[in-house]
């Protein structure tokens, strides 16, 4: 699977209008793990007094990276949709810095994929973390 599925995942992301609007990019994808990033943009700011990105942008990046991790998992044969997503915001992302989300699909059952993810700016400390449940289509036993 791996290379072929990684390629499918890249094409899959390229076809998502919202991922393009946010200029999201897949940095790495392999067997249930995905790393995706997006550039800082003044249009995505949540508080013009500070220039910090809005949580919604981080949510969109985390959700996309998590969905990509599910799609790339060896046991998943089709697409996916988010059932539930919880996001914890640890701190504001530093203005001007690129945001990177690392997602891991750590468990797949017949119907549900469990995923966790962490978002970073260019610093060491995480900006946000997420946990979610996603639908599974055509699971391999």
């Amino acid at each position: 699977m791996s290379e072929k599925k990684a390629k499918i995942a890249r094409q899959f992301i390229a076809a998502i209008p919202h991922a393009n609007a946010l200029e999201m990019k897949i940095d790495e994808v392999f067997a249930g793990r995905a790393t995706m990033s997006l550039p800082y943009n003044k249009k995505f700011v949540g508080d013009s007094a500070t220039g910090v990105l809005h949580g919604g942008v981080i949510t969109a990046l985390l959700d996309t990276a998590m969905g990509t991790a599910v799609v790339s998992h060896p046991q998943c044969m089709g697409g996916t949709a988010t059932i539930d997503l919880r996001i914890d915001y640890m701190r504001g992302a530093t203005p001007g810095q690129r945001i990177t989300a690392k997602a891991e699909c750590y468990r797949v059952t017949r119907s549900v994929a469990f995923v966790r993810a962490t978002a970073f700016d260019e610093g060491e400390a995480p900006v946000a973390s997420a946990a979610g449940a996603f639908t599974v289509e055509g699971a391999k036993p």
Binding site: H18, A49, H54, G55, G56, T59, A81, I83, D84, R86
Partner: protein
Amino acid sequence: MKKPESVQVIKQRRDAALAQIAEDVPYIQFIGATFERRGDELTAILPYSNHLVGNPMLPALHGGVVGAFLEIAAQIELAWQIHWPQFEAGATGPKAIPKTIDFTIDYLRSGLPRDAYARAVVNRSGRRYASVHVEAWQDNRSKLFAQATGHFLMPPPHE
């Protein structure tokens, strides 16, 4: 007894205050969300647009967009309630926006390619923290397509 203010004066002041809050969040303009006001009740509106799509095959709204829309609706409702007394006292200028601590989104149905609406309820608003619940629907108010609960950090008083 003081004569009540004219309806135009009140409307103009409240609409300007709401516009000011939304203006301080550039991301609201990016996703194209707007707010409708009836007295102090707010409804967030997300007009459908191609750049909000997450699944072009269906098509369906991006899960991240749905989450972001709910977060905006919750955050602006809270900011609106926090600053309402100041607005009513005639204060103008930028106001502090509460920061999100955590946000949990429950995706009930896929977001259809049409406008979405959301209303938030502040269940508790303390000195430091607030808990806000928000519901979103499209065609039928009784058929929610997503709901969420989030905690927010209250801005310092008089900011």
